[in-house]
Symmetry: C2
Subunit: 253 residues, 2 copies
Amino acid sequence: MALKYYHAEPAANSLKSMIPLMEKNLEFESVYVDLHKFEQHSEWFVKLNPEGQVPVLDHDGAVITHTTVINEYLEDVFPEIPLRPYDPVGKARMRYWNKFVDEQVMNYVSMHGWHRMVGVLARGIESGEFDKLVERIPLPDQRKKWRTARSGFSEADLANATDKITYACRKIDDHLADNPWLAGEMYTTADINFYSHCGMMVDRMFPELEVASNFPRLVDWCERVHARPAVQKALAMPNHTNPALRTFTGEAR
Amino acid sequence: MALKYYHAEPAANSLKSMIPLMEKNLEFESVYVDLHKFEQHSEWFVKLNPEGQVPVLDHDGAVITHTTVINEYLEDVFPEIPLRPYDPVGKARMRYWNKFVDEQVMNYVSMHGWHRMVGVLARGIESGEFDKLVERIPLPDQRKKWRTARSGFSEADLANATDKITYACRKIDDHLADNPWLAGEMYTTADINFYSHCGMMVDRMFPELEVASNFPRLVDWCERVHARPAVQKALAMPNHTNPALRTFTGEAR
C-alpha cells in the first residue's frame, strides 16, 4: 500500500486533502509541486494529471484528482478514522455542504486570491514568455483565468465574488447556531473544505466583512478546526510563498 | 418506508433523480411542482426546501435536495440495484464525471434553455407582477437569473456557454473511445447526469454542433441510455411544457 500526494502550499485545494491524510494518520509520500515555477503545467506533471492541476493522490497507481473526489475516496478506502458520517442522511448533509463550498465559495475566494497573488506573479513575466507559459496550460478555462489574472479581474466580478463570500459566511454562521459542525454533530470533510477554501483566511483577506463581530459563530468554529492537531500538522507543511503575499491567504495567521 | 419525489417535467434536474428511482424499481409518491405557476417559490414549497428549487426527495421525513446528493443517497439506502460501482476507484471515476457535469455542463445548457424558454415565459409577465414574483425567490442567484432571462442573456455569455458545451461533448466523445460508460465498465449516476442535462437534448438544442457527425460515440452512448426501460419510464412522466417550446430540450425526441 503506497500513497503519494502531489501538492503545493498548505492552503486551499492542496490543504483540503492534506488534512484528511493527517487526520487518518496515513503514511504518504509528499511530492511538492512548485506553482511559482509552473510545475503543474510541466510535461511530467501533465502526464500524471492531464488537467495540470494540484493536488493529485496516487494510491498504488490509481490516480485520483479533484479534492472532493479524493476526500470521498479516502473515506471509502480508509474508514477507520471517519470524516464522513455512517448514516445516509448524515452523508447527504456532508455532501450538500461540500457541493455548496465547491460551487458557491471556492471560485470566488480564488478569484480574489488570483487577483492579488497570481496577478502579481503573472505581471512579473515578460509578455512573450507569458504567452508560452499559457500555451502549456491544458484546461481552456485555466488559460483564460491566467490571462485575466495578468490584466486584472473586473471590479464588477470582484464585487460579485465578495457578495458570494458574504452570503456564504452569513449562511454558515446561521447554520452553526443549531449545529456544532456543518454536517451536524460530526466534524467531516465539509468542515475541512470550507476551512481550507475560506474559513482559514476570510478575516485576513476581507477585513471589510468585519468577520469577528458579524460572524462570531463562524470564528468560534474556525478556531475549533484550527486547533485540531491534524490541521496544525497539515499547516506546518513546507510553504514557499513569498512572505509578503502570505497574509492574503491567512497562512501566517 | 415512504418515498416522496417532488419534481417538474422529465428533463434536466427533475429527470436526473427520477431515472434512479425507476432503475431501482422503488415505489414513490410523485408530487408534480408546476414551474409555469412558480410553485417552487410558493409558501408551502419553500417550507419544504428553503432554496425554492426542484427536485426534492422526502424519505420518511428526511428532506434531501440537490440531485447529485439525492443520487448518492439513493445508492447508500437502496444499493440492491446499483448505479454506483462497489470499488473505491470506480466510485471516484463516477464522482469525477458527476462533478464535471455539475460544474462544467449543467449551468451552460441551462443558460441556453432559460434564454429560450424562461425568457419567453418571463417576458409574458407584466413588469409589476414580475417584480413581485422575483421577490419571492429565496436564492439571490436565482433572482438574478430570472431578471437576466427576462432581459436576455448577453451574446458573449451565450457564446461562452456554447464553447463549454462543445468542449464537454468532445471530452466525452473522446473518453467513450475507451470506455462503454462514463465511469468505465458500469452504467452509473454519471451517465444519468450527463444524459439528463445535456445528452438527451444537445442535438436538438445545438444543431450547429452537428452532433451526429462530430460526436458519433456520444450519439451511440446516448441511444444506449435512451433505450433503457427505466429511462423510457421516467421520460413518460407528465409533461406540461408548452409543446411549441419542447423541441428546445429534445423531450419530444
